[in-house]
Amino acid sequence: MQVNEYKPLIVAFCCNWCSYAGADLAGNNRLNYPADVKIIRVPCSCRVNPMFILRAFQRGADGVILCGCHPGDCHYTSGNYYTRRRMALLFSMLDYLGIEKERTRVEWVSAAEGAKFAATMNDFVETVAALGENKRLEDLRCKK
């Protein structure tokens, strides 16, 4: 048994109407995805403020993924369009400051896409695990 195998901590913000239901469907269908993914349910993907993403990194996340309804399918009509603009700018800025761009991601997952949810999470965990620990946006005060 490997005791010290590195496990990334992934925070997934999932919108209540699509992606959270998609995660539920993945569970119902007995699809596997790593337990390193911690899901936070938000009313809409546009509820996620850039500060949430930075905070997640501060408190020890190695990767942050934001899942919402497909563009055009937002429960609140246009929330995910705003998310798309904000996150495009935020991710570009994080990259500009030299923070690995693979640590952040936005995926559109509908309530019917349990398989996509599981596949996305598997892929993301693998990508972040390959990068290793988050060093560039860590807060030493929050280290255990």
């Binding site: 905070r55 563009p71 603009r85 495009a88 991710f91 570009s92 030299g98 690995e100 005060r141």
Partner: protein, 330 residues
């Protein structure tokens, strides 16, 4: 060298005070030295004649002062606007942050401003500065008189001036200029060409000097929230210097993000930074990205335009493509 003299501005202010167009004047007041002028409100003619000043160190952006100065009184205020101030003026009007009826704006052409902060970095013990055409004579206590070219002392933001054209005024002194074809994104592009490791090292070096004095936030004409997220004692943000490198990055990312799409690129943040952090490079990155993702947009160019971040189209680029496009690769 400024095209319009102090006397021209003073006479205009006196004339408008006398004929009752305005009751107060927002202008620059002389400081102890010619390079430390401060914004001030003059209530009457005597105060104006005594302390009013206009020289090549009058860089402060007046637009933000209008919010507090028009809120507390019904009196009409005269304000002198340089071209870059006029963009902020429009942006604040767009956001309904002050009452246009209470302000009489006089546009003043700007020949580029010098920076007292940069000057004192270059020269020690400056006692006086005078500008004659393209030459700047700096008097010092110990080294005698030194002469510089105006261009070499020009503050960074003025070297990449985006516009000499006023976008808002009631009256104009002198000639209006043109929107310039500036090279303001060159520095951003240079950083983008670096590897992520180099960029990280660069920003770590710059931002680690931050002492969290909040001057960049306080001076910014786009940062006008009455309650700022960073002032919330429950937010978990440490309002002090070097609490952790994360804090510095978070503060500067969020500060720039909160003005993304509304920043007119006036460069005040970098001008006031006591630690010489090139904060405008963060704002310019957002401006450059907005221009390349969502089409060219200049905040404050017109009143009532909708900022890109509170707008959308159905075929915006995905965040995953954005990073690549931000490098100019697409």
């Amino acid at each position: 060298m400024q095209e319009v003299t102090r006397d021209a501005l003073l006479n205009k202010a006196l004339e408008l005070l006398k004929n009752g167009t305005v009751d107060r004047v927002l202008g620059y007041r002389v400081g102890e030295f010619s390079y430390d002028v401060t914004p001030a409100v003059f209530e009457n003619e005597d105060a104006l004649k005594k302390d009013f000043c206009w020289n090549s160190f009058c860089g402060a952006n007046f637009s933000k002062y209008l919010i507090s100065e028009t809120a507390k009184t019904e009196k009409k205020l005269l304000v002198f606007l340089k071209p870059c101030d006029s963009y902020s003026f429009n942006q604040l009007l767009t956001e309904h942050r002050f009452d246009r009826e209470k302000v009489y704006a006089v546009g003043v052409p700007c020949g580029g401003m010098l920076s007292g902060k940069d000057l004192r970095e270059k020269v020690e013990s400056v006692s006086d500065v005078s500008v004659n055409g393209d030459k700047v004579t700096v008097k010092t206590l110990f080294d005698g008189d030194l002469e510089f070219d105006f261009e070499t002392l020009l503050s960074d933001r003025c070297k990449n001036c985006k516009s000499k054209k006023h976008v808002a005024y009631d009256e104009l002194l002198g000639e209006d200029g043109e929107v310039l074809d500036s090279h303001r994104f060159d520095e951003v592009e240079r950083l983008e060409q670096m590897t992520p490791d180099e960029r990280f090292a660069f920003w770590q070096g710059e931002l680690s000097r931050c002492i969290r004095c909040n001057a960049c936030r306080d001076v910014c004409p786009a940062c006008t929230c009455e309650k700022c997220v960073f002032d919330n004692p429950n937010s978990g943000v440490q309002n002090k210097a070097a609490a952790d490198s994360f804090e510095e990055k978070m503060f500067h990312i969020i500060r720039a993000f909160h003005v993304a799409g509304r920043c007119t690129d006036c460069g005040e943040c970098s001008r006031v930074c006591p630690q010489h952090i090139p904060l405008h490079l963060l704002n310019r990155k957002f401006i450059k990205d907005i221009n390349s993702f969502y089409g060219d947009y200049q905040a404050g160019a017109e009143v009532g335009s909708r900022a890109p971040i509170v707008n959308y189209t159905t075929d915006d680029p995905e965040p995953s493509e954005a990073v690549e496009r931000g490098h100019g690769n697409a």
